[in-house]
Amino acid sequence: MKVFIERLNKTRTVQFKGRVKDLLKKLNLNPVVVLVVRNSELLTEDAVLSNADEIKIISVVSGG
C-alpha cells in the first residue's frame, strides 16, 4: 500500500489491509488531526483498505 503523508510530503510503502483506524495506529498518527483519502474520496475510520490501495493522509491542523 502506498501512503502519502501530506505533513511530511513523503510517500511510504506499507504492508497493510484492514480498517483506516488500524492503519493510523500502525503509522502512529493521531486520528483527530488527519483525514484519510482514497481516489479523492474521504474515508471514515471504519472504512476497509486493501494492500493495493493508494492513500493520502491530509493534516487538518492549520500551518500557522
Binding site: 505533513r7 493521531n30 483527530v32 483525514l35 474520496e41 474521504l42 474515508l43 471514515t44 487538518v60 500557522g64
Partner: protein, 289 residues
C-alpha cells in the same frame, strides 16, 4: 458505514450531502446570531482552509470583502496568498491585501531577525493592529475570522494556564468587551466547528488550500497546547467541545468583570490597553536596532 439516507458515510455517520448541510447549518446559526443584515462584514483571509471556508459561508449570507495581511514570511505566506487570490477570483469576491513591508517598512522575516522577541508575539501584534485598522478603513462594522473550535479551546486553556484571566472575557464567538468607534468587533462563525470538520468540509467542497506550515509555528506556546488537547481528544472524545460549552456557560459572568477603559496609542492613535500599542513599542525597537 452508511448515512441515515443510506448513502456511504464520509465523515462519522454522515454522507457528503448531509455532512456539508450540517456544517453549513451550524455556521449559519452562529452568523445569524452575531451578524446583522445591515452589518458591513469583512473577512480576514489567509488562504488556509479555515479562512476560505468562512469566506465561502459568510459570502452566502452577505456581500463581503476578503482582507488579507501579508506578514512577509518567505516560502509560506506568499504561497497561501496565491490560494486566497485564486479562490476570490473563482468566486467573484473582492479582496484587499496589505503587507507589513508596505505599512511598517519591515517584513516579519526582517523584524524577527532584528528583534529578540518570540516571533508569534511580533506577528500577532502587527497583524491585529493592521487587521483592525484596515477593516475600519474599508468601512467594516464587523471583522470575521476563521478561528475554529480547536483554536478557541486552545486559547481558553492557554489563558487559564497563564493565569491571564482578564483576557478570558474578550474571548467568545464575538470578541471585544469595550465598544469603541476605532475598534472593529470580531465574529468567529466557525466557533462551534472542529478543525477536522472544517478540513473535511473544505476538502469536500474542493477548496484548494496548499498545506504549508509557518516556519515560526514551532516557537508558539499554542503548538504545545494544541498537541496536548489533540492527545486528550483521542482518549476523551469531545473534550474540546466540552471546554467550549463550559466557557460559553460562564462567559456572561466573565463579561460582567470590571474592564479598563479603552486607551489610544500616543503614537498612532489606535485603540490599545496601555499608553503605547504593542505594534508601536516594537516599531520603536526596530528603528533603534
Amino acid at each position: 458505514m452508511k448515512c441515515r439516507c443510506r448513502k456511504k458515510a464520509v465523515f462519522e455517520n454522515l454522507c457528503k450531502v448531509h455532512f456539508c448541510a450540517a456544517i453549513e447549518a451550524k455556521v449559519m446559526k452562529t452568523i445569524k446570531k452575531y451578524v446583522k443584515p445591515t452589518d458591513k462584514v469583512i473577512v480576514a483571509v489567509s488562504g488556509g482552509k479555515d479562512s476560505l471556508t468562512v469566506l465561502s459561508l459568510v459570502g452566502k449570507y452577505a456581500k463581503t470583502i476578503a482582507l488579507c495581511i501579508d506578514e512577509g514570511i518567505a516560502g509560506y505566506r506568499d504561497i497561501t496568498i496565491q490560494d486566497m487570490v485564486a479562490f476570490c477570483k473563482k468566486n467573484d469576491i473582492d479582496y484587499a491585501i496589505f503587507s507589513f513591508k508596505d505599512e511598517f517598512n519591515f517584513s516579519l522575516d526582517e523584524m524577527i531577525r532584528l528583534l529578540k522577541e518570540n516571533p508569534c508575539t511580533i506577528c500577532s501584534a502587527f497583524r491585529r493592529h493592521l487587521l483592525n485598522k484596515k477593516a475600519r478603513e474599508l468601512g467594516a462594522t464587523l471583522l470575521v475570522t476563521g478561528h475554529n473550535m480547536d483554536d478557541e479551546s486552545q486559547a481558553i486553556m492557554m489563558n487559564i494556564m497563564r493565569h491571564q484571566l482578564d483576557i478570558l472575557p474578550r474571548l467568545g464567538p464575538k470578541t471585544g468587551v469595550v465598544k469603541d468607534n476605532l475598534f472593529i468587533p470580531r465574529v468567529k462563525p466557525l466557533y462551534f466547528v472542529s478543525e477536522k470538520e472544517v478540513a473535511a468540509y473544505a476538502f469536500l467542497k474542493g477548496f484548494n488550500s496548499t498545506y504549508k506550515e509557518c516556519p515560526y509555528a514551532v516557537h508558539a506556546y499554542r503548538a504545545s497546547v494544541c498537541d496536548f488537547l489533540n492527545d486528550v481528544e483521542i482518549e476523551y472524545h469531545g473534550a474540546k467541545q466540552r471546554i467550549i460549552n463550559t466557557f460559553m456557560k460562564k462567559l456572561p459572568i466573565l463579561k460582567k468583570s470590571p474592564v479598563k477603559d479603552m486607551n489610544y496609542c500616543k503614537k498612532c492613535s489606535e485603540p490599545c490597553a496601555g499608553n503605547t500599542c504593542k505594534a508601536c513599542q516594537l516599531l520603536e525597537k526596530l528603528w533603534t536596532s
